[in-house]
């Protein structure tokens, strides 16, 4: 039976001094793009490292296409294409020699795909890795990740350091991978507008806790921002209130049900559609009230 999820995390725990990932659970369905957002130090990179088995989990379960990421490590990794925030390759080697050395590990590696992507990304294959700009390094990591027929792409801040033109092109390419080839993708980012464009499922993490994991429509159509006087906002059901901040002209609150909020506040406050940026700011803000 084909597993329903490309990626499943259940009760995953990892503790560092001064930081803990607490019972993290979320899923990315097959053929979907999952976005991981959260403030700096919230645990996004730790989650990606745990999925890739770069660090050891203390509890919980991580399954990739139904396979345990530790027990079936080799098979799982042969189906994952990865791009890290700071790509680590051999500085003093040409891109082509790194292709030769690393491509051999993948049973479905395609030189043809790699060379095509290298041409499209304008990568100088005979140049040493250290001679590339940060953007070109990310493009090289992407070309490597996309050349072995991976079923799941895992990317940690892949768009950081890329110019807006290539960022847009990358997002288009990711969407195309999904539509044409049925791939699944998980990526973490600070650039929330990227996620609004392409993500199907959005998972928000803060201080090592998963605050929510919702579909884009559930979040952007269901949630809302209420702007008005604080006493009006206080009339809202506290269970709806997900975050709040105070400004010079009143307060802003993030609510998980825009319709319900509208019925309570009527014309005494403004209820707007929410953006991911606002979700980040209101949930990560110092004046948050509840989650």
């Amino acid at each position: 039976m084909t597993p329903e999820y490309a990626l499943e995390l259940r009760g995953v725990r990892k503790t560092y001094r001064g930081f803990a990932l607490k019972d993290v659970s979320f899923t990315v369905p097959r053929g979907h793009i999952g976005g991981l957002i959260g403030p700096n130090g919230s645990g996004k990179t730790t989650i990606i490292k745990l999925i890739m088995n770069l660090i050891r989990r203390e509890a919980g379960e991580i399954r990739v296409f139904g396979l345990d990421n530790r027990k079936a490590e080799v098979e799982v990794k042969s189906r994952i294409g990865f791009v890290y925030d700071v790509p680590g390759f051999w500085d003093d080697q040409s891109l082509d020699s790194q292709r030769r050395a690393l491509g051999a590990f993948y049973p479905r590696w395609s030189d043809e795909t790699f060379y095509r992507l290298a041409r499209e990304f304008a990568l100088p294959l005979d140049k040493k890795y250290k001679a590339l700009s940060h953007g070109a390094k990310t493009k090289f990591a992407l070309a490597m990740a996309l050349s072995h027929g991976a079923d799941l792409l895992i990317m940690d801040e892949p768009t950081a350091g890329l110019d807006p033109v290539f960022r847009r092109e990358l997002l288009k390419r990711l969407s195309a991978l999904l539509q044409d080839e049925g791939k699944s993708i998980l990526f973490s980012t600070h650039i929330t507008s990227d996620l609004e464009r392409v993500a199907d499922v959005i998972t928000f993490i803060r201080g090592g806790d998963i605050v929510f994991s919702l579909t884009r429509d559930e979040l952007l159509d269901g949630w809302a921002v209420v702007r008005g006087e604080e006493q009006v906002i206080r009339e809202l059901d506290p269970r709806l209130l997900k975050g709040m901040r105070h400004g010079a002209f009143g307060a802003e609150a993030l609510v998980s049900d825009g319709g319900a909020a509208r019925r309570v506040v009527g014309s005494r406050a403004v209820v707007d559609r929410v953006t991911l940026d606002e979700v980040m700011v209101l949930m990560a803000g110092e004046n948050r009230h509840a989650a």
Partner: protein
């Protein structure tokens, strides 16, 4: 998979492995020295293994460890490849030096002596011991670990000599170093007979196995 890991180590570290070349220049010069015979060839094997062992530590410096650990290969296999590469480079270095002794016109060394089985076995023994000692350090602490270890060894030597001078026991220290030298000479002589060969092979085998198990244990538990 081991084949791919070996290929990766050789391809991506080739430039640094060529760093052994300057050593060959010195060895070529030493070939004209009557006293520099076998010890030069054995030392070359030792240096070759040492270099190949520490070259692997570059991966930490270049932050490529996470990339490697993300490939569809077990960390155990990557560690295995490091041992094999270090051993192969050590043996190859020895063989090149022995061949140089036979070929270079100014060489006063007798090539037949350098190609003796007992000399080759001594090289393998010393190379295996340096690999067994250093590899877990490289895997756990990276380049810094090796530098600190070798530096600490140097400092220990200096402290020993200063202490020996201070306590007028210099002959005692000389005796210790002399014992090491005599040990190597007697090991070399012993490796011509079946008994010591088996004993040495068992000791080297057990040390390498323990070192490998420790390296795998450390590599698998290392958070990257």
């Amino acid at each position: 998979m081991l084949r791919n890991a070996l290929r990766k180590d050789l391809l991506l570290n080739a430039r640094h492995l060529w760093g052994i070349l300057p050593w060959f220049v010195w060895v070529a010069y030493a070939m004209s020295e009557p006293d520099a015979g076998r010890i030069t060839a054995v030392g070359a094997g030792f240096i070759g293994s040492l270099m190949a062992t520490t070259i692997a530590a570059r991966e930490d410096k270049l932050r490529t460890s996470a990339t490697l650990a993300s490939l569809p290969v077990r960390r155990r296999t990557l560690v295995q490849a490091r041992y094999v590469v270090a051993c192969v480079v050590g043996t190859a270095t020895y063989l090149v030096v022995a061949a140089m002794a036979a070929v270079l016109p100014w060489s006063v060394q007798r090539a037949a002596e350098l190609f003796e089985v007992k000399t080759l076995l001594l090289t393998l023994t010393l190379a295996s011991m340096v690999i067994a000692l250093l590899m877990p350090l490289v895997i756990r602490f990276g380049l810094l670990g090796v530098v600190v270890f070798l530096g600490a060894f140097q400092v220990l030597g200096v402290v020993l000599f200063v202490a020996a001078d201070f306590f007028a026991a210099r002959s005692g220290v000389r005796h210790v170093f002399g014992a090491v030298e005599r040990g190597i000479v007697s090991l070399h002589a012993g490796l011509g007979q079946p008994g010591p060969i088996v004993e040495t092979a068992v000791i080297v085998g057990i040390s390498t196995w323990l070192s490998f198990r420790l390296s795998v244990f450390l590599a698998e538990r290392r958070d990257l």
